[in-house]
Amino acid sequence: MATAVAASASLSSSFAPRNHHRRLARPVTRRAAPVGLAVRCEQSDKQKRKPLAALVPREERFMFEGDELCGPDIWNTTWYPKAADHVTTAKTWYVVDATDKILGRLASTIAVHIRGKNEPTYTPSVDMGAFVVVVSSSQHTIVNAEKVAVSGKKRTQKLYRRHSGRPGGMKEETFDQLQKRIPERIIEHAVRGMLPKGRLGRRLFTHLKVYKGAEHPHEAQKPVPLPIRDKRIQKTD
């Protein structure tokens, strides 16, 4: 076939302008890779996808239960979640009351739950965590005050800094002032520092919902009280 094409092409090329038929004259053989280096991906992929039945000798097959032999190999490949394992609509929602809880300890528990590190299905590259809603049921007469607590003199001495990018543009304010101005930002700042930084971390951060006051708009998600194992999280005094 190839030689016939070449013959007819060379005949016609003598009567027609050269450049036009140059491509037809030479049959082009395409190789994916040079001869010495055969790409082996296909072989190893097939090996990975073989069911256990192919690898286990007949005498030892009794050791395995029905499903393990024909299904995917769960004992030689570490489990990785499928899309169905982390559907956003099926995630748990937790609610925490931040009143009189130590800031850092609370943020730490929240971050662990958002990241999903408390579950055996934890995977660092996949969002397997839960949603956390933080409210503060304030029983004080001060309206709209987030009642998160800090120990020591941090209330007046802990500084929150930000920079506008311009020279001399550093702005700082104390914990107290920020709590009066935008109380949600305190918890958000704390939790964001404890979540991983990167694309996934930014998405995890959107799973944190902080509200000042006792109401939150997520009643439809039926949030469960967040299980806290830290014994020193409640501010005593």
Partner: protein, 119 residues
């Protein structure tokens, strides 16, 4: 001096590298000079990460086992589970423990009961 073209030696060497760069991005898979650099970096990463892979997976298994022991109240923590496993000389490696934790959590109870009853 006669004209001496250099032949196909360099071209063969470069086409050898090209096959490794077939799934790179943009100019990194088309231009020879970039292919040489990027393929070299890829090989370096590959070599280094083969060692890291072993570390990373062990880390992942340990985190999963830790979470599982706390969720299923098997022992209070990963450290206690491993300590007890070693005391009773049960040689289950972490990879297997992690897979058990994810796929068949009831077997974690079986393991912990076994640990508690061996004595």
């Amino acid at each position: 001096m006669t004209r001496v073209p250099r032949g196909y030696i360099a071209r063969r060497r470069r086409t050898k590298m090209r096959s490794f760069a077939s799934n790179f991005r943009g100019a990194h898979l088309r231009l020879n000079r970039m292919i040489i650099q990027q393929v070299r970096r890829a090989f370096v990463s590959s070599h280094r990460d083969r060692g890291r892979q072993k570390r990373d997976f062990r880390r992942l298994w340990i985190t999963r086992i830790n979470a599982a022991t706390r969720v299923y109240n098997v022992f209070d923590s990963y450290s206690k589970l491993i300590h007890n496993l070693y005391k009773k000389e049960l040689i289950l490696n972490r990879k297997m423990l992690a897979q058990v934790a994810v796929s068949n959590p009831n077997n974690l109870y079986t393991i912990s009961n076994k640990i508690k009853t061996i004595d």
